[in-house]
């Protein structure tokens, strides 16, 4: 278990030893702040709903950017060989990297609590929906990060890793928006497979086990696929 945290600590440090961490945090806060103040000042709505709605789109770009280096860069530089010949299990490495990416995302998410505090000062805040929103953002971030890490394990090229992760997340996001084009029986399936569908459920402030199971499955499946691919020791 210790190996997991050692790997995670190194990853977090490398986010903040390089510009990645700062750029991600700054841009994320800048964009989410813009959406938030837009609705606050231009529409006169004291709500963090826009923040939650925009998060999916922001994550679609930010999460692949955070995770694109996780394995692709280790493979390119060959450091993967040293890492995987140290006494840690592959899954600890994967989980450690996931934890680090999740940690960076959570830092960004926690900083948006400023908006919640602002709204709470101006008027009543919907506690349930806000809690659901933050839980949703965390789970969505975790799911996207696990997808991004899987994409990163597939290639030695960070840009390719970014694009693969972006496409997977985009498709999972769009699935419940194309249901009108497919027969009813398939529509239900597509809807259930959609990231956004489950995220929107959580935004309503209702924590349903099905949604939790969905996010857990995405994380588990991506991580297993990553582990499977790594076990073949790609060059």
């Amino acid at each position: 278990m210790k190996g997991l945290f050692v790997v995670a600590r190194r990853e977090i440090r490398s986010y903040f030893d390089s510009p990645v961490g700062y750029v991600v945090l700054t841009l994320f806060l800048l964009l989410s702040g813009w959406f938030f103040s837009n609705s606050l000042f231009l529409q006169g709505v004291a709500s963090v709903r826009t923040l939650f709605d925009m998060t999916v789109v922001l994550f679609m770009f930010f999460v692949p950017a955070i995770t694109m280096g996780t394995f692709a860069e280790e493979r390119r530089a060959g450091t993967i060989e040293l890492l995987l010949t140290l006494p840690v299990r592959d899954w600890q490495v994967i989980a450690g990297k996931l934890l680090a990416a999740f940690g960076l995302l959570m830092t960004a998410i926690v900083l948006t609590l400023v908006y919640v505090a602002t709204v709470a000062n101006l008027g009543d805040i919907d506690g349930g929906a806000t809690f659901g929103g933050y839980l949703g953002m965390a789970l969505l971030g975790l799911a996207c990060a696990s997808i991004g890490i899987f994409a990163s394990s597939l290639t030695r090229n960070q840009i390719v890793a970014f694009i693969i992760a972006f496409v997977i997340i985009f498709v999972l996001f769009m699935l419940d928006k194309v249901t009108i084009f497919v027969p009813g029986s398939l529509a239900g399936v597509l809807q259930f497979l959609s990231l956004d569908f489950h995220y929107q459920n959580l935004l309503r402030g209702v924590v349903d086990t099905r949604d939790l199971i969905y996010f857990a499955s995405v994380v588990l499946l991506s991580s297993l696929l990553t582990a499977y691919h790594l076990s073949k020791r790609p060059e």
Partner: protein
């Protein structure tokens, strides 16, 4: 200590390592010698549990690489080829990271880091980021990392590649001193290196072991015919006839260079005839300018065994 039994590793249709077996005793310094792409690195990657074997078995201290991989990795210190390191970390942070993953106690960590930093000469660069270091320093960081947990077995893949001659000598001396108590396996395609630091050499070509033995025994085995250089003052008139009459000796070449002449002599067998040649010169009143026996070098052994010709001969 290390037991490799009929190990085969294939990548698709390519057999990188083809049915090799060997054993390494505790305290032995073993050199893997072979041309590029011979299967040295692949063998090392199997030993370090990075790649699983396709067939055959590898056990270290009675532990099997496929089932006890974690325990084996704790025993081994490994320096992969081309020394991959995290460029954005400082040397100190990197060593601490390795110590943490190896679950060393804080006390151990401090003393061992101090030790490897001292032995590998890293004191001046501890706070520098690895990306700013020269190739030689990176190599030393890689070595420090491999030695950090005082492993029983060190596996070093081309530890001296990219170093300057002084650094090569330093690393060789280090390997030699490590070999006094540790088991060391190192790979190289530089011949003087194995002669300088290895007790035993495995020559690998196209995934197969083509020779196994001490550097001296390999040289002896492949010695075959000797060559001698024999120089006398004057134009060497009459000398050739006398030499020809000497038992077993043949004159391969005769050249005159100004005041002296030089003979290249061939001799079958390994007996040393230099004292006889000296006496011959004294008896005939020749003034000797050169008397030299050319040793069969490991380089010749290597060439003989790994050339295309040797490969096709072995196949036929």
């Amino acid at each position: 200590m290390i037991n490799v039994d009929r190990l085969t590793k294939t990548f698709g249709l390519e057999r990188a390592v083809d049915d090799i077996s060997f054993e390494v005793e505790r305290g032995e310094v073993l050199g893997f010698l072979g041309p590029n792409g011979a299967g040295k690195s692949t063998t090392m990657r199997v030993l370090t549990c990075y790649l699983p074997p396709s067939a055959g078995s590898v056990s270290i201290n009675g532990l099997d690489v496929t089932t006890d991989s974690l325990a084996i990795r704790r025993l081994i210190g490994y320096l992969p080829e081309s020394t991959p390191l995290y460029p954005d970390m400082t040397v100190r942070d990197y060593l601490r990271f390795v110590a943490a993953i190896r679950e060393m106690s804080p006390g151990d960590e401090r003393t061992r880091i101090a030790y490897v930093v001292d032995v590998c000469g890293l004191t001046g660069v501890l706070s520098k980021r690895i990306e700013t270091l020269s190739k030689g320093y990176r190599q030393r960081v890689g070595l420090a990392q491999a030695m950090l947990h005082d492993p029983e077995i060190l596996i070093l893949d081309e530890p001296t590649s990219g170093l300057d001659p002084n650094q090569i000598v330093e690393i060789r001396d280090l390997v030699k001193s490590l070999g006094e108590e540790k088991t060391v396996i190192l790979s190289t395609h530089i011949l003087p290196e194995v002669e300088a630091s290895c007790d035993r050499v495995l020559i690998i070509n196209r995934g197969k072991i083509v020779a196994d033995g001490s550097p001296e025994s390999l040289q002896a085995r492949f010695q075959g015919d000797q060559r001698l250089l024999f120089g006398v003052e004057g134009d060497g008139a009459g000398v050739e006839d006398v030499l020809r009459s000497f038992a077993g000796l043949s004159v391969l070449d005769h050249s005159v260079d100004g005041e002296s002449s030089m003979f290249t002599l061939g001799l079958t067998g390994t007996n040393d005839v230099r004292p006889d040649l000296y006496r011959l010169a004294v008896e005939n009143g020749w003034v000797l300018t050169e008397l030299h026996r050319e040793e069969a070098r490991l380089e010749d052994v290597f060439r003989q065994l790994t050339s295309e010709k040797a490969y096709s001969r072995a196949k036929a």
